[in-house]
């Protein structure tokens, strides 16, 4: 024991309480995150105490240049800054954040949405030749036979894995405590569960969830036991138990090492009709997509294009904030996208994603005459258009529909509709699963 232990315990407590990923994407504060680090708020980690209602309490502030006069708005009060002496946990109301890198984010999103995007290596970065095809127990890390290691690990996992929901449900049988459930699982169900796991689950289970089934039969009629293979197919696997004894190293034959690299083009309509709400919806949809692809690929590059009747390339920082006047001509953005991709990201070397978003308003005939042909010309793993219309459809907002109609048999074009934050996760799923089906 010691501080290390305390930190470990804190991490466990924190991890259990971080905001659900889907909830975070839909409603969370995305602004704190950077492209390489996703900050997910942890729900109140501090212990509760008898406290005043923060709003009813009011407070005292100190003006910097002059004092605000009665009636002046003063913004949200800042929590007191006093991180010392014997009062840890005094800074109530402060948010803690759980930090994820994009890899973890992508993994979690796969798990949460049931995605399984398998990135393809494209550009060949190295070619190696060698005579040895031997397999040994030691070797440089780069030659580790990971597939074998993975398979062995998977076997292990299958042997050790069990249907957690099913056992958990047994804990909800009236009168069944952890000891009883453990005995039942081990003897009757032949499930490799540990006693500690059962006890821990029981502890974690909110009181009101206990005892909801009258008896074992009632539980079994509600909860179906699924076997491991089915479950893994459905939920994926979050962790494989790797063991040193499974490691084998391969002396390379000729191996082409391909880098999994991706370029993502984000296109956004910034014309006058794209008001605050619509802009937010675009940000909510695009940002997680960026994180996801960055997490999936070894090397990710991003191109941001804003357009009204004309298009121009911008930096990410400005991308979601820009507003201009002017009309809308979506093809202008695709022209720039094509130019940039052809010049710097040849299709033979790069995975390409082209995401566009707007409120589906476009100048007449532009969709049919210019955008659709351009979309056909630009080779890409996936083209997507995200329509953001918080208030349903406007009369001349037909771009999404036209694109969808035209490409309805195509397997690399996705169209998604987002009218409120609730739709965001579905839209992300629609977009990412389109490619997966290829």
């Amino acid at each position: 024991m010691g501080l290390k232990d305390d930190i470990e315990r804190y991490k466990q407590v924190g991890e259990n309480r971080r905001q659900d990923l889907a909830e975070f994407i839909q409603y969370g504060d995305l602004g704190r995150s950077r492209r390489d680090s996703v900050q997910i708020p942890i729900k109140i980690i501090d212990l509760p105490e008898f406290a005043y209602d923060q709003r009813d309490m009011g407070g005292v502030g100190q003006g910097e240049d002059g004092t605000p006069q009665p009636g002046d708005p003063v913004g949200e009060p800042q929590p007191d800054d006093d991180g010392e002496d014997g009062d840890p946990g005094e800074e109530g109301g402060e948010h803690e954040y759980y930090e994820m890198d994009p890899e973890e984010f992508a993994e979690e999103l796969d798990e949460r949405l049931g995605l399984d995007l398998d990135p393809k290596g494209k550009r060949v970065i190295e070619e190696k030749e060698g005579d040895f095809t031997d397999i040994t127990r030691t070797g440089p890390t780069g030659t580790l036979d990971f597939e074998r290691l993975f398979k062995q690990g998977l076997k292990r996992k299958l042997a050790m894995d069990f249907d957690r929901d099913y056992i958990r449900a047994a804990l909800q049988i009236d009168g069944w405590g952890p000891a009883k459930v453990f005995e039942w699982a081990r003897t009757e169900e032949n499930v490799p569960v540990s006693k500690a796991w059962v006890e821990n689950e029981y502890e974690e289970m909110p009181r009101e969830e206990r005892g909801i089934y009258a008896d074992l039969e009632a539980m079994q009629s509600e909860v179906e036991k699924t076997d491991t293979a089915q479950r893994i197919r459905r939920e994926g696997i979050d962790q494989i138990p790797y063991r040193r004894e499974d490691e084998r190293y391969r002396y390379p034959e000729i191996i082409e090492e391909r880098e999994k690299n991706v370029v993502v083009v984000n296109i956004r309509d910034v014309s006058g009709s794209m008001r605050q709400k619509k802009r937010e919806l675009v940000e909510r949809t695009f940002t997680p997509l960026d994180w996801y692809l960055q997490g999936k690929y070894d090397n990710a590059e991003f191109v941001y294009i804003a357009h009204d009747a004309d298009a121009w390339e911008v930096e990410r920082d400005e991308f979601f904030g820009i507003r201009s006047g002017g009309g809308t001509r979506i093809s202008s953005a695709y022209e720039i996208a094509k130019e940039r991709l052809d010049e710097e990201y040849p299709w033979s070397d790069w995975n390409r994603y082209v995401f566009a978003a707007g409120d589906s308003e476009n100048s007449s005939n532009d969709t049919e005459d210019r955008v659709i042909p351009l979309m056909e010309e630009i080779d890409a793993n996936l083209h997507a258009y995200v329509e953001t219309q918080p208030s349903g459809n406007a009369i001349n907002a037909t771009h999404a529909e036209e694109v969808q109609q035209y490409f309805k048999d195509s397997d690399n074009v996705a169209v998604a509709y987002v009218t409120s934050p609730e739709d965001v996760t579905d839209a992300i799923y629609d977009i990412l699963s389109t490619e997966e089906e290829q």
Partner: protein, 671 residues
């Protein structure tokens, strides 16, 4: 004190040892300087630690050994992140103990080390002299005590008979109530089982049977009436007689644990009782620090700044770093206890000095409170008050002209300096007495305070003159000011640091002048507009809000009202409502924890503020604020679910304080 006694400890490591040697002199001289300034610190033991150890210490609330708990991990994590983003402030950690223990981080610059050392000496003075710190114990033996606590709890966690998770949860439950003690009373340890043995009538019936008394005796002495009385007694026993503030003590004496397997309350296990008492003791130990944060931090900042900047404790090249450090500590946003405290102490000093000067001036023939501002040439007054050359500068080459009998001169030190035993270039203050130092650092003639004297209000002048008897004692201003006592400011400050806590400190010394000078204002949440608005710059309002923030640790007062509520041994807590509502969500979460420590249903009575949607709408249109309706509310938790119901006003009216009002919204805003 000779070099060998210098209380710095460093691990067996060349670098650490070298740092310890480098700091020997500053540590010795800081203690000497503090004493010269009239402070009486506990002796301080300094420890040289590395960056990681420092972060650990911070996480553990300043101690090396604490009980295992995730919140230390949380604290450490925050600390790390703050360090990353704020570029690592030089932290001062000092424990209230005799001797006090303080920690110096090896990687700090010399300027930072010196700042920490001077700061620590002042804290140590505060610990040893403030009477609120005496409430826990005159000899807290804190480090050893907390280490012992840690050891006990660690042993329970490792005991194979006890689930570690159970111990952790038990600690969590108790920590939710760590502020619910009676911090205004001295700590009373609860060692054994103090419970008065209760008479169980059914048991008595059995025992009477066992006694084999003759039926006659039984009938006559222990008749049904007697037994009935015993039963009734039990039924109607409502305790405590007076509302109990120390909820932890009450739970320790009368609480039980809920046993989910048995589905009922059981007596607490020995380990549960012991941990409850341990954490209660720690709550009492840390209470004075929480109660004197503004004063204590301000006090330390005041003396640190005087020693470092005004007494050149930092060498010229170190001073820039020091000033930078200082601005980080004092400028860290929000309401900052360091800066509020520092400002208040300076204000106290200036006010005491000014009062003394004004008293003397009003004794000059022809000067009255009415003509004070018109008659006096303040420029001239300040010139007269200017410290004498004797104390303001020291010329080591020219010591012979100094009169060793001058009360401002430390004759012994003067002699030593003349013999070349004292380095006056570095430590000029050594040849002065306390009186000399007070004049040397006189507040009213410092550039920052030049306007303070003539800013005195007519009211204050009149108030002072009311108690003057001999108003023409002096013929001239010069005569009046020739005998000025330069020590009154510091004397007054030391008096105040003995008896006050933050609440009384703010109550007594926060004035309109102070609030205006430092731009303080109050704010409230507006129901109508849904945002926070500034409401007042009146010092009475600022004071109200600050009192709310500092009284009872800034927490609502919750007391045990009845330990036999509903005649079923349920626990009734009451919120003594001061016009500011409870955070009901948190209160419910806390009640769940109280249930675990009581073992039987628990209830809380409070007063809720309700706003009518229609009233809010009307207020919004009229640009005013709606009036809430105050309603009695009882929340009960039986271990499974919450029930809430309104209670009659008569049952909560005793909870509502009518004589205080923390609302600072102007009257005319209310609908």
């Amino acid at each position: 004190m000779s070099d060998s006694e210098t209380p710095i400890t460093a691990p067996e490591d060349v670098q650490m040892q070298r740092e310890a040697e480098r700091l020997e002199e500053p540590v010795r001289e800081a203690a000497a300087l503090a004493t010269k300034l009239g402070l009486e610190p506990y002796p301080v033991n300094y420890w040289i630690v590395d960056y990681d150890e420092m972060n650990e210490l911070i996480a553990y609330g300043g101690f090396q050994q604490r009980y295992p708990h995730w919140r230390w991990g949380m604290q450490y994590d925050r600390q790390q992140k703050q360090g990353q983003f704020l570029g690592g402030k030089a932290f001062e950690i000092v424990n209230n103990d005799n001797p006090a223990h303080a920690f110096l981080q090896i990687s700090n610059s010399l300027a930072d080390q010196k700042a920490v050392i001077t700061h620590v000496e002042a804290h140590s003075d505060f610990f040893s002299n403030n009477e609120w710190f005496g409430m826990f114990s005159k000899d807290p033996d804190a480090a050893a005590r907390l280490a012992r606590h840690g050891e006990t709890i660690r042993e329970y966690m490792q005991d194979p008979e006890i689930e570690r998770a159970e111990v952790e949860k038990w600690i969590d439950h108790i920590l939710c109530l760590e502020d619910n003690i009676d911090q205004h009373q001295p700590f009373q340890p609860l060692s054994g089982d103090e419970e008065v043995p209760e008479v169980d009538p059914e048991e008595v019936v059995d025992q009477l049977g066992d006694l084999e008394l003759s039926e006659e005796v039984r009938q006559q002495v222990f008749d049904e009436e007697w037994l009935e009385a015993q039963r009734e007694d039990e039924d109607t026993t409502s305790f405590p007689a007076e509302p109990e503030h120390d909820i932890l003590a009450f739970l320790r004496q009368h609480g039980m644990r809920y046993d989910p397997d048995a589905g009922k309350a059981q007596e607490m296990e020995d380990w549960q009782k012991e941990i409850l008492e341990i954490l209660r003791a720690e709550a009492y130990y840390f209470a004075p620090q929480k109660m004197t944060k503004v004063m204590n931090e301000g006090w330390a900042s005041y003396w640190e700044s005087l020693m470092m900047a005004d007494e050149n404790f930092a060498a010229a090249d170190e001073f820039v770093t020091y000033a930078d450090h200082m601005s980080k500590v004092l400028g860290s946003g929000g309401l900052n206890p360091y800066s509020l405290g520092l400002q208040l102490w300076k204000f106290v000093e200036n006010t005491a000095n000014r009062r003394h000067v004004v008293e003397e001036l009003l004794c000059v023939d022809g000067i009255t409170w009415r003509n004070f501002h018109d008659t006096l040439d303040f420029q001239h007054v300040l010139e007269l008050l200017e410290p004498a050359d004797l104390v303001s500068s020291v010329d080591p080459e020219n010591l012979d002209s100094i009169d060793p009998d001058d009360p401002r001169i430390d004759a012994e030190a003067l002699e030593a300096a003349q013999n070349g035993e004292i380095d006056l270039e570095k430590y000029p203050w050594k040849i002065f007495t306390y009186e000399g130092m007070a004049e040397r650092h006189y507040s009213l003639t410092k550039p920052a305070n030049l306007g303070f004297l003539n800013r005195i209000s007519m009211e204050e002048l009149e108030r002072i003159s009311r108690y003057m008897f001999d108003d023409s004692k002096y013929d001239s201003i010069e005569e009046a000011l020739s005998e000025i006592d330069y020590t009154v400011g510091w004397d007054r400050m030391r008096e105040i640091r003995e008896s006050h806590n933050d609440v009384t400190f703010l109550d007594e010394f926060l004035t309109q002048e102070f609030v205006d000078e430092h731009n303080y204002f109050t704010y409230e949440y507006m129901q109508s507009s849904g945002d926070y608005r500034a409401t007042s710059t009146d010092y009475r309002d600022v004071k109200k809000k600050l009192m709310l923030q500092f009284t009872n640790f800034g927490k609502p007062t919750i007391v045990v009202s009845d330990g036999n509520y509903r005649n079923r041994n349920e626990l009734l807590l009451e919120h003594q409502y001061n016009g500011v509502a409870l955070d009901l969500e948190q209160a419910k979460n806390t009640l769940e924890r109280v249930f675990e420590l009581w073992g039987r249903p628990v209830a809380l009575r409070t007063i809720e503020k309700r706003y009518d949607e229609h009233d809010i709408e009307v207020a919004r249109r009229r640009d005013s604020e709606p009036e809430p309706e105050e309603t009695g509310l009882e929340i009960r938790f039986d271990g499974r679910e919450f029930t809430e119901h309104d209670v009659e006003w008569s049952k909560v009216s005793h909870l509502a304080a009518t004589d205080i009002d923390y609302d600072t919204k102007p009257e005319e805003w209310l609908a």
